[in-house]
Symmetry: C2
Subunit: 238 residues, 2 copies
């Protein structure tokens, strides 16, 4: 998987994929966090803070990479749940699990269907490019992707609208002809407001934002969403 | 407490106060949420989603008032914790508790100290003005405040930097001569990045954002923070 290139035509069928929870199963990290803090709410608290503070950075015109905010969010999680603060080595070990996550079982089949149908598959993540590469390589799905894009290049986080516009163009498509596939309501809301089509995978415990437009496609697995995308041939936009 | 006015001089000593958790004790709402979902993590999950999605709205150039997002966040909380979805009437009853919260016990003394020292006290909240008025009246602290300001006028949420700039000026002060007092790390980060001074009250389970500058003042109660503000006379800024 190489750096962004722009060899695709503007007519290309581009699908941008969110990575964490959408393609990768975070259970391993979830269980390790629950164990480390001895608190069942630890993972949701940590991941919620990570997402919230990536937006705090964005609206205050500051930037730290996702891993750095993830490290800070571990300390905030300890304080907010009133559990013990983890040592540096413990935090390092937990955050390293981010690059050792398996793909959800349905993911390879879904990616295969879309690649076979002629779609250009591109990863678009809040993590850095080097973490992204490690993640896709570990999960053994990197060969499906033409490109890997990170918000790190733009130094502001999804769902800021420019991130989707720039990513679509880096993938060789106009935003209106690109599709984002994600398992998070905030990502779907961002893509739709940015003018892309969007496919929601309802992973366990994930939900749409009720105040955003409905996703163009939705299902419980990637193959379900992929089938809808392929059957409609192109996203149905008003 | 009237609508924003601009009779103060630019030399006035203005303190902007966050409201929820900073001045008001949210335990009543917290316990009701835990009971409604039968899940100990319910309040943290809900309030985290409320804050996260207020920023999702802000970065996608959309706006819904805080109560509307709070209602949506109740549905999202049910989905994410995999608990039952609340009925409309249950949600209404829970959200009504937002306007029936007592002040933290230390708050009246702290407000009295600051008013006596000649500071102009102004509330600045992510809630609407009408909710704010009800909250301060119920908590019996409304008489300490010269003004009540809501992000609702600007249709974007704290910690977006313009919100602090505009609020300081509405209160008759330049941002650099105003102070924000809050119990949330994201609010302190926003105020400092916007050029205000900031006082952090470390309420139980609240914490600073480790990647933001340190607050100008901090303590466990409002009187502790108030004493620091008064002793230094004016915020110490580089």
């Amino acid at each position: 998987m190489q750096q962004p290139r722009s060899t695709s035509t503007s007519n290309s069928k581009v699908i941008l994929f969110d990575v964490n929870e959408t393609l990768l199963d975070m259970s391993k990290l979830k269980n390790a966090l629950i164990k480390a803090f001895n608190n069942k709410a630890a993972f949701q608290q940590w991941f919620g803070l990570l997402l919230q503070y990536s937006l705090v950075d964005t609206v205050t015109n500051h930037y730290h990479d996702f891993r750095t905010i993830g490290d800070a969010a571990l300390d905030m999680t300890a304080a907010m749940l009133q559990e013990r603060t983890l040592k540096s080595a413990e935090k390092h070990k937990l955050l390293a699990l981010m690059t050792e996550l398996p793909a959800h079982k349905d993911v390879p089949d879904g990616l295969k269907m879309l690649a076979k149908a002629g779609y250009s598959l591109v990863a678009l993540t809040n993590s850095t490019r080097s973490v992204l590469d490690e993640q896709l390589r570990y999960a053994d799905i990197i060969h499906y992707f033409e490109q890997g894009l990170s918000v790190d290049d733009q130094r502001r986080y999804k769902p800021q609208l420019d991130v989707y516009h720039t990513a679509a163009r880096q993938a060789g498509a106009e935003p209106a002809s690109a599709i984002l596939v994600a398992a998070h309501g905030w990502d779907i809301a961002g893509a739709l407001h940015a003018g892309l089509a969007a496919g929601f995978i309802a992973r366990k415990g994930q939900t749409l934002y009720p105040l955003a437009p409905s996703p163009t496609y939705q299902g419980k697995t990637l193959p379900e969403v992929a089938k809808q995308i392929i059957d409609k041939k192109a996203p149905q936009r008003p």
